[in-house]
Structures are given as C-alpha cells and as structure tokens.
C-alpha cells in the first residue's frame, strides 16, 4: 500500500512498491492520459510532475512517489496550464496526439522555469519524442502561451 497525492487528491495504491508510477497511474488509478511509449525514460510520453518537477513516470517507482504530490495531464488545471492548452488548440498542435500529454507536461514545467523561453530553451527543455513531427507547432504554441 502506497499513499500519495495525485491531482490534489490523496490516494492509496495497492500495488507492489517497485511498480513504476506510470503503471500505478494507468492500471490502478485509471489515469490513462499518461502514456506508455518506451519504458526506458527516453520518449517522454509518460511525463508527469512530481512535487512540481517534470519527471518520466516510467522510471519512478511507486515507493519513491510515496507522500509526494503528483500532477498528471488530467490535473493540469492552473491558469498557466489552461493557457498552454488554449495555445495547443490555437496552433492545432496534435496529430495522432499520443505524445501530447507528455509534451504538455514538459512544456508546463519549462514555462514555470522560463516564463518567456527562447527557441533554444524550448528545444533543450522539451525533449519529448513525436513521430508525427509536431515540433515546429509545439514551439509556436509555447511562445503563444508565454505571450498570453
């Protein structure tokens, strides 16, 4: 049994402590917005915020997340996040959309650290993999959100 706070709610998960947070979220809590892409901390589809920091949830164990505050795409509801989501719609960023939850979580963390990021800061701060190739629109949408 592991207790943590997910999207502002205290939850208890009855899964082995070595279960990656990704699978605790998806299989035990039904929060399927966080995606499985590679399982080796490479693609970023599983990015969530842990105590405010962007982390790849496939390589964080449930035990390590105990007592922490986890935010998933379903919980992105701050003013900053809603600007990002509006910008994502305005720039029509997603195609298949599978990587976009993680992309948005990375972008939200970037904007907290750099409210008005340069292209270089976006490129180095948002390293999520997108097979559809939405990168130019991701960059535009982040600039748009920064200007809102």
């Amino acid at each position: 049994m592991t207790t943590l706070t997910v999207n502002g709610q205290k939850v208890t998960v009855d899964a082995p402590g070595n279960t990656p947070l990704l699978w605790a979220l998806r299989d035990y809590l039904g929060l399927t917005g966080t995606k499985y892409g590679c399982g080796i901390e490479y693609c970023g589809a599983c990015t969530v915020h842990i105590d405010g920091e962007a982390e790849k949830s496939c390589e964080v164990s449930l035990a390590d997340a105990a007592g922490k505050h986890v935010t998933t795409i379903e919980g992105l509801s701050s003013a900053l996040s809603s600007k990002l989501q509006q910008a994502w719609i305005a720039e029509q960023v997603p195609q298949c959309g599978y990587c976009q939850s993680g992309m948005l979580m990375s972008a939200a963390a970037l904007l907290r650290a750099h409210p008005n990021p340069t292209d270089a800061q976006i490129d180095s701060g948002v390293r999520n993999l997108c097979v559809c190739g939405t990168y130019p629109r991701v960059r535009k949408a982040i600039h748009r959100a920064a200007g809102m």
């Binding site: 899964a15 082995p16 279960t19 990656p20 990704l22 699978w23 998806r26 299989d27 035990y28 039904g30 929060l31 399927t32 917005g33 966080t34 995606k35 499985y36 892409g37 590679c38 399982g39 080796i40 693609c43 589809a45 998933t72 795409i73 379903e74 992105l76 990002l84 989501q85 994502w88 719609i89 029509q92 960023v93 997603p94 195609q95 298949c96 959309g97 599978y98 990587c99 976009q100 939850s101 948005l104 993999l129 997108c130 097979v131 559809c132």
Partner: protein
C-alpha cells in the same frame, strides 16, 4: 468530439439491412437506431447522422483516426451538404458494418491515403439526403412545401417561421430517404470543404481525455504481456510453467503470453520467462548479412519480372555517351508507432467485445469470430484512437493473440506489447536493393533509364496474414 468516455459501450450488435448507393441506410434496423439514440441522445436520421434535441449533430466516420484528421475531414464533407451548424458537430468512429465501407475499397479499411478520395461523393450524398429529409419534416411542421424552405446552420425557415433540425429530427428519421438528393455544392461551390476548420479531436488530446486503443479498460480485466520467439519461423517447444505472481501463461504458437495483475508485472514476468523454442532449419542461420548477400546475388543474376518496359533500352544505352550506375539499399524498418500494439477483449459465453486501435475493424471482427466460434454478429468491435497506425494496425496478429488469451483465461484481458516486442516483432517495411542505370547523350539529356529492384513480394504475405483481397492490395500498398 466525444472520445472521452472511459469505455465506449457498443456491445449491442448493429445489424445493417441494406444500404443505398450513396452509403445511406434504406432500412434502419431497430438495434442501430437504439444504439445511436442511446449514445448520441438524439434521433438517427441515417446511418451517418444523428441529431439531438439540443441540436448536436453526431456524424459517424467510416475511417479510423490515427492522426491524419479523418474525424474532422469526413464530417466536414457531410456538414457541407447537411448545412448543419459546424460548431454543433461531434464525430466518432463507426463500428464495423457494410454501410460504412469505403466506396473505394468496398471494405472498412483505413489505408493508402484513401479516406477523403474514397468517401467524398458518398459523404456529400449522405449530407444532402439527410438535409432533404430534415427539410421535408420541417416543411410539414410549418405547413409549407419544401421548395419554400431555406436552410442555414441547421435552421429551416419559410414564410417568417423557423424550425431547427433538432426539433424535427424525430420526424425526419421516419421519412423515406430521397433516392436522388440535390448536391447543392455542385452549383454553389464549397463553403466548408476546403476551409481550415479546427480539428474536432484536438480538445480531447490536450487534457488527457482522448481514449487510445491502449487506454481501454474493462471492469475486472487482467493484463497480458507477450514474448515472441526471437527467430522468425520458430515455435514454442513446450508451454513454460506459470511463474510465481502470474495468473496464466498462454502458448500462442510463435509466442507465449504471461497474464498478471498489472501491465508492469506482466512485462517483467514475460521478460524473465525462459522459453524453449523449436527453430526451423531454414531460420537457424538467418541474419542481416545473409539476407544482404542473397539480395546482392539476386541483383546480379536473379531472374526478374519486368514491371514496365518502353522503347529500346539497349539502343538507348548504346547511344549514351555517359552512363551512371548507382545502387541503393534500404533496410527492414519497424513502423514504430508511438502507441505500442494493444488489444482488450471481453469474451463471454455468447458475445465478444473488443477494444482496439485498428485500421481494419472488419478484419478484427472476422478473426475474433474464427477464434471464438461465435457468429460475426456476436463480435462488437470498438475502434479507439490510434497513436499512429502507419499500416501496422491493419495487421491482426495482436488481435488474434488477445482473443486467444481471453479465451484461455476466462476473464477480460488487455494485451499490451512492450516497446521491445513492438520494435523486434514488427511486420517490417521490407528491405530493398535498387540498381539504377542512367544513360545520357552529349547534351546531358537522358537517353535511357533502367531500374532493377530486389525486394520481398509482400503483397502475398500480407494477403495471407490479413485476409485483405488482392484487388485491395493494389490500391492500398
């Protein structure tokens, strides 16, 4: 669009009795009407269009969404002729049924960039048919003739009165569809088609509510992972014993599946499972260098089929003052969709409900019927969003595996391929070796060109795997 329900309930089988030339249903069977009414909260004007009292227009899309935008483009074509209020349009993927077949392929298959060109005329006709039915119902309500009516954004007006689509959808659904509806855009031009509307699926893709195939959840389900034989053609020698922590181990012929309480446990148990395989002699020394050597040997001396020949190639090269010969090779490549393969199956004694990311819902239904022994009418296929398809998801290997596992374990199951299995057991884009010879005259003009290609003949193997007929393979591959 509404892709946000956790598990889309389409268990009720849809019996399509007959379809008009334009793809519109003539005889709307009761189950289809009730399904749509339940799901959309409105009246089904045709197989394609339901309209709710709150004016929401729900449009069924015959193709599957994998990022190409078809959940928006096909509704745009229908709405062009329907003259509905675009902001009221919702969209969803249709279940497998003859009425939803792509007219280009005569099958419900999303492949070969064929959605808009295949469905275009049928969607215009579907929109026009429903519009004429709605206008007829509105005219009757207002006590005028349809010719006195004007339509704009889902509102029918005549002689100072007005009626909305939502108010008369019930009545319209009972009218016979016109056999030859007027395609208004043929004379007035397009208003919606050709404009860059916002994609209907995007809002659900920025807040985590979009449901992809891999996101399907069924109450009480267990989780399966797979371990394929590392060598092509190899088979399980003996079903391994069930490891501690597993619910079941299932022999799938060229692979074993491990079923567990969650995906991670299943992945880990499958990875650590020791399996003994029977490897056929022909595969024992199969590797990239042997394949490459064979390709070079065939390039140099293999008997080739001539695909196309024009003019006198020998004379052309004889005339050439300069000849360039260049050989290009390309490797086997996995599709590498961002969403690994997955399929969820809820198999009961008399029914089977499947949730999958699929480009070929009809093939899914057929393969499940074959494995379960149930009639196709007892197999419900829920097409969910695809995190990339790229042709990999009109294959049915992952579907047949999931159905076989569900049959063996006797409870709902979700099969997820790990990324490692997804990359190493793809139906790969075939390798190829191409030699191009170009002859030029003194001014640099091309006098002759030849291209000799060595590549596996994939159509035959794809047809054997998927049941896609030969005619179709010419169109999509």
């Amino acid at each position: 669009m509404d892709m946000s329900s956790a598990v889309i309930d389409r268990r009720q089988f849809i019996k399509i009795s007959s379809a008009a030339a334009g793809g519109l249903m003539l005889g709307i069977s009761v189950p289809l009407q009730s399904r749509s009414a339940m799901a959309a909260g409105g009246s089904q004007v045709s197989a394609w269009i339901s309209i709710a009292p709150n004016e929401t227009v729900t449009i069924e899309v015959g193709s599957a969404e994998m990022g190409q935008g078809v959940l928006t483009s096909l509704p745009q074509i229908i709405a062009e002729e329907l003259m509905a209020e675009w902001s009221k349009v919702k969209t969803r993927m249709a279940p497998p049924a003859a009425v939803y077949a792509n007219p280009l392929y005569h099958q419900q298959l999303t492949a070969g960039s064929g959605s808009v060109r295949g469905y275009f005329d049928a969607m215009l006709k579907a929109g026009a048919t429903a519009r004429e039915m709605l206008v007829a119902a509105a005219a009757a309500r207002m006590g005028v003739s349809p010719s006195e009516c004007q339509v704009s954004n889902g509102v029918v007006t005549a002689n100072g009165q007005s009626v909305t689509y939502g108010e008369v959808a019930d009545d319209a659904a009972l009218l016979p569809p016109p056999s030859n509806p007027t395609i208004l855009s043929a004379s007035r031009g397009y208003q919606l088609v050709g404009s860059s509307v916002k994609r209907l699926d995007i809002p659900s893709k920025v807040n985590g509510s979009a449901k992809f195939g891999i996101d399907a959840r069924v109450p009480g389900m267990v989780y399966a992972a797979i371990k394929h034989c590392p060598t092509l053609g190899g088979e399980v020698a003996a079903t391994p014993a069930k490891p501690a922590g597993a619910i079941a181990v299932v022999n799938l012929g060229n692979a074993v599946a491990v079923v567990a309480n969650d995906t991670y446990a299943a992945f880990r148990l499958a990875r650590n499972l020791t399996v003994s395989w029977n490897i056929p002699t022909a595969s024992q020394n199969l590797d990239s260098s042997i394949i490459a050597q064979k390709a070079v040997s065939l390039m140099n001396s293999g008997v080739a089929a001539v695909a196309e020949s024009k003019g006198d190639i020998g004379a052309g090269f004889a005339k050439a003052v300069k000849t360039i010969t260049s050989t290009y090779s390309f490797p086997y490549l996995p599709h590498a969709c961002m969403e690994p393969l997955s399929c969820t199956v809820d198999l009961r004694a008399d029914s089977c409900t499947i949730y999958a990311p699929t480009q070929a819902p009809g093939a899914v239904q057929a393969v499940a019927a074959g494995i379960t022994g149930l009639a196709a009418s007892a197999i419900t296929v829920n097409s969910l969003l695809m995190g990339g398809g790229l042709g990999r998801k009109f294959e049915i290997d992952y579907i047949s595996q999931a159905v076989t596992i569900a049959k063996q374990v006797g409870q709902p199951v979700k099969l997820t391929w790990s990324r490692e299995e997804d990359m190493s057991h793809d139906q790969y884009r075939p390798s190829g070796l191409v030699r191009i010879r170009l002859g030029m005259d003194g001014s640099g003009a091309v006098t002759s060109y030849s291209s000799r290609i060595v590549t596996p003949a994939t159509r035959i193997s794809v047809m054997a795997r998927t049941g896609v007929p030969r005619m179709l393979m010419r169109l999509v591959a």
